[in-house]
């Protein structure tokens, strides 16, 4: 039975309106929904509020393209292929973007809280750091804490009232409009099967008001339901689905293809300046659709990145380059 959840890349990007808050699947340089990130850039989105468990190349592309006003997260970079987020760094320096810093565990717990319908999470992490310096409450300083989508406080302290365990920090639920996931398989009705580490995908999918799942392949729902214990996200938590092979490139997809390190290195090297970014975007984003992009990338490169089905990683790629 088809549920009518299928949409196109263009329709998916239209769901993300200017000013929306947005989050993604994946981890650093793995399973980021790039085909849709590129489409958001082509549609010249403005004023996005990214709330991410951790950032990565997708952050750098959207920030470089001027789509993002607020970035709330803990880390951005390209791991081995670029040690920091040069586009974010440049925009922070020029005061063109607001950055709210949390720790990685705090961001994760914020999404867990939102995913379980709780207003906040309680943790003992990062006590004594400048993450909790009240002067460094960026969204508060900007007067944006309306208590609706943006919480009234960055964090609050409390003492454990139950066991006397001492200081605790409360961090607000991460409320987001749209989550965009990029996974190996989704069923016609929305059931998601992630292979390998699922990172924080279940939490972000459940936390968001609208969840869009981009998959390498859309498979019969019955196929996934034959082994329901292997599935990661429930059908009705997913609003829209689309099939986009190689959709995570240049990031990697466990069991399908590796990270394109050379591509990320090239991006990192060329986009230190705005002119450099614009030039890169002209070459790889504007005027192309997804198939055009893959054609430009070329089969030899894609075969080189393709994972060995037994080992789950590419054996043809020279690593670290």
């Amino acid at each position: 039975m088809s549920s009518g959840k299928r949409i196109t890349l263009q329709q998916a990007a239209e769901i993300v309106t200017n000013g929306s808050s947005l989050t993604f699947s994946g981890f650093t340089i793995w399973r980021r929904p790039f085909a849709l990130v590129y489409e958001l850039i082509r549609q010249r989105k403005k004023g996005l509020h990214l709330i991410e468990v951790n950032g990565g190349p997708q952050t750098e592309f959207l920030v470089g393209a001027g789509c993002v006003d607020i970035w709330e997260s803990c880390w951005v970079g390209h791991e081995l292929y670029g040690k920091y987020g040069a586009n974010l760094s440049r925009k922070v320096g020029n005061k063109e973007i607001l950055v709210e810093d949390y720790s990685h565990a705090e961001m994760l717990f914020r999404f867990s809280a939102a995913a379980s319908g709780a207003p906040y999470a309680v943790t003992q992490t990062s006590l004594g750091t400048d993450i909790h310096n009240p002067a460094y409450d960026t969204l508060g300083n900007a007067g944006l804490r309306d208590g609706r989508r943006i919480p009234r406080h960055k964090y609050r302290f409390t003492e454990d009232p139950f066991f006397g365990a001492g200081a605790q920090v409360m961090v607000p639920a991460a409320k987001v409009d749209v989550a965009i996931l990029c996974v190996q398989q989704v069923g016609e009705e929305g059931t998601v099967r992630v292979n390998g580490q699922f990172y924080s995908d279940p939490e972000v999918a459940r936390a968001a008001d609208v969840t869009i799942v981009m998959a390498e392949e859309i498979v019969p729902e019955e196929y996934l339901r034959r082994e329901s214990d292997q599935n990661t996200i429930t059908s009705f938590e997913v609003d829209h689905i689309l099939e986009v092979p190689f959709g995570a490139h240049p990031t990697g997809m466990f069991g399908r293809y590796d990270v394109d390190g050379a591509f990320l290195k090239d991006f990192y090297g060329r986009t230190r300046t705005q002119e450099g970014f614009d030039d890169f975007a002209k070459e790889w984003i504007h005027g192309l659709d997804h198939l055009g992009y893959l054609e430009k990338l070329g089969w030899p490169k894609m075969l080189n990145l393709k994972a060995n089905t037994a080992l789950k990683y590419s054996t043809g790629m020279k690593r670290g380059q």
């Binding site: 994946g26 981890f27 650093t28 340089i29 793995w30 399973r31 950032g55 997260s73 803990c74 880390w75 970079g77 081995l80 920091y84 987020g85 974010l88 760094s89 922070v92 320096g93 810093d101 720790s103 990685h104 565990a105 994760l108 943790t123 003992q124 992490t125 990062s126 006590l127 004594g128 750091t129 400048d130 993450i131 909790h132 310096n133 009240p134 460094y136 300083n141 302290f157 454990d160 365990a165 001492g166 200081a167 390998g196 580490q197 699922f198 990172y199 924080s200 995908d201 279940p202 939490e203 990697g252 466990f254 069991g255 590796d258 990270v259 390190g261 994972a307 789950k312 990683y313 670290g320």
Partner: protein, 273 residues
């Protein structure tokens, strides 16, 4: 296997740092692993003196036994042979629950109390340079019993006061007032320890748990305590120096270059003349 120490011309600085880091690992420990040189160090410990150590990768692999060195924590190699492939909620909950003995971390700046900065250089509200941000650095440093930092040694990085405390050392800020207190006072029942060593490109540093202050433990060959003190902006305690950092053994060099990182992704081979 040959456990003799290698001669100076047989190894490079990266080999020395990797072996020093490896020796911080004890057998049966649960180690929170990042990628890069620390990953090689942990796998080296697993091959040598700590065969029963357990690895946790931040992205969600639990008790991993990678057959070869992963290049990132999302790498498929992390998951091969693991007890479980899961997600961040498991990794951070396990850490907060108190399972983690040791974590390896890095930083752009460190101060005399082991506070580390990976967020920005200069005033946070008006930074000279925005860096990567915290990542899991403060989390691992809050939850683990011991953390070891591996850092490039430059005078500007060993600073009187870090631009931004990303990761908590031994003496931290008590917000909202901001007065400096020992981390034990702040963490309450969650207090388990803190930074135990900094391995820089010049020497190995440790911390006095009571005063929270850093001191020089060993110098890498070719450096004197006085030279290293000159390379710190704070007044480095050199009264407890125990000697020279032990060089790699031939066995360790064999594992690093022939088994763990033959592709020289993280540790270059020294060309023998």
């Amino acid at each position: 296997m040959n456990k003799e120490f290698a001669k100076p011309e047989e190894y490079g600085l990266a080999d020395l740092l990797c072996c020093a880091a490896s020796r911080e690992v004890q057998d049966n420990e649960i180690v929170f692993a990042g990628t890069g040189l620390p990953m090689v160090a942990i796998m080296l410990a697993q091959k040598t003196h700590a065969p029963n150590l357990k690895l946790i990768f931040e992205a969600g692999t639990l008790d991993g036994r990678p057959p070869e060195i992963p290049t990132s924590v999302g790498d498929a190699r992390c998951e091969m042979g693991a007890s479980r492939s899961s997600g961040l909620h498991d990794a951070f909950s396990i850490a907060q629950r108190g399972y983690v003995d040791l974590g390896f971390l890095g930083g752009a700046e460190v101060d005399q109390y082991g506070n580390v900065n990976t967020t920005c250089i200069g005033d946070y509200l008006n930074p000279e340079l925005r860096l990567t941000g915290s990542g899991g650095n403060p989390d691992i440093n809050s939850f683990a019993r011991r953390t070891v930092f591996i850092m490039v040694h430059e005078k500007r990085r060993f600073t009187e006061q870090v631009s931004y405390i990303t990761s908590p050392g031994w003496r931290v800020r008590n917000w909202p007032g901001g007065e400096t207190v020992h981390r034990r006072e702040l963490y309450g029942a969650a207090y388990r320890g803190g930074p135990s060593a900094v391995i820089s490109t010049l020497g190995v540093f440790r911390f006095d748990e009571e005063s929270g202050r850093i001191y020089l433990d060993t110098c890498h060959a070719g450096n004197t305590p006085e030279q290293i003190r000159d390379m710190c902006q704070f007044d480095l305690d050199v009264s407890r120096v125990s000697g020279e950092t032990l060089p790699p053994t031939r066995e360790e060099l064999h594992y690093i270059h022939e088994v763990l990182d033959p592709e020289q992704i993280f540790i270059p081979k020294v060309k023998r003349g």
